[in-house]
Symmetry: C2
Subunit: 204 residues, 2 copies
DNA sequence: TGTACATCAGTGAACGCGCGTTCACTGATGTAC
DNA sequence: TGTACATCAGTGAACGCGCGTTCACTGATGTAC
């Protein structure tokens, strides 16, 4: 390590490689398996194969560890969004629908992390880092909506439409992972539902 | 108690009056103050002024106690809905908007209980009593939607519109109580938002 | 090149805590006679 | 009316448990010379 003359940038651990990343991954798995509120540092340590004191070299406390998992989830969600709209022509409503599809798909494939990402208000304090990442994602939506309607990106109508769409996919995600959809509405297929709502909300 | 000759119907406790109700109320307050996942039987007992063993005369375990709080919340929500549409002419979209308003208002005024009502899937097992109550509430929405569009109440379009609206208010509720609204969208006023979305979703 | 040293990631044992649940009990109540 | 009895809601002490966090430590690593 550090055999080349490069500066002291990356402090890659010697003992474990990168215990921080390993712990975040272990915590993520536990969040997914047990739910955000049934994760313990001890369990994460067991999974990572280290002592229960080890995390305190990387995180101030349990909250900071969970925040790291949430932040990681938000970033992956954002990247998936960027990937999903790639190739779809700018200004087409399909781009908006694609963002919504990623939102719901992410929630369904990682319900634990998804819950964690939004359980922050009460549980964790409002970490500015998390808020910033959230706004970054919402900014994507606003940009695409603005391109669709031709309204200015920071205008009130765009905010309003974006927020309406966000509320919809957010609720749809939660109802789905809470099992309310299958049991109460049969199987409403996702794709047409998203296309339909996007069309309605983007209409004049 | 039981001084009249009436049958042994209501087994009103002699010691405490009705400890079950007192415990549910204590638990409800704790759910509201600490969040659904930071409630302990011990704390509820302290609040109710009884020993920590007392609840086990009324509830099998902690889950059953929380379920009682959730069920109580759902019933109050339903009653508020019935109250809200009372007086508004049948078949008018205002009735649908009124249901949505109750949904969001309830969530905002009792975020803890609202969270509990939907934290059920993972945490608690699927109590049939809770599912039934949920379907009862959703039935209200479907009925009003059907009256608005003139479509049959159990038809797929009605289910679809109802579910879309439900997703919207559900997401709006969560984003609001999670503090995402104020911080990211300024103050989008609730009323016009609800009217607007109801109009869009009920349109042909 | 080799050796002595400083660093600091990870250890392992311990702590105090509050939890959910159990248990044998007690004593206020309603009931039978 | 009074008395003996059965009921069972609530008691209080105890249990074992896993938790978050702390502490002095150790030993692998990179560095200075």
């Amino acid at each position: 390590m550090m055999t080349t003359g490069e500066s002291t940038l990356s402090k890659r651990g010697y003992h474990h490689g990168d215990l921080r990343a390993v712990l975040v991954e272990a915590t993520r798995r536990l969040v997914e398996e047990n739910g955000p509120d049934h994760v313990s540092i001890a369990a994460a340590c067991r999974l990572a194969g280290v002592s229960t004191a080890a995390p305190y070299k990387h995180f101030r406390d349990k909250t900071e560890m969970l925040n790291a998992v949430a932040l990681d989830g938000m970033e992956r969600q954002r990247l998936q969004m960027l990937d999903a709209i790639d190739g779809i022509p700018e200004g087409s409503p399909e781009r908006v629908a694609a963002l919504g599809r990623v939102y719901v798909t992410f929630a369904v494939s990682e319900p634990g992390v998804f819950r964690l990402m939004f359980a922050l208000s009460g549980e964790h304090q409002d970490e500015p880092e998390l808020m910033a990442k959230g706004e970054e994602v919402f900014g994507l939506v606003k940009r695409e909506v603005a391109r669709c309607t031709g309204e200015p990106e920071d205008s009130s109508p765009v905010e309003r439409r974006s927020f309406t769409l966000w509320s919809f996919v957010h609720g749809l995600s939660f109802l789905t992972i809470d099992g309310k959809v299958a049991k109460m509405c049969g199987d409403v297929p996702l794709e047409p539902l998203l296309d339909d709502i996007a069309r309605r909300v983007l209409a004049a």
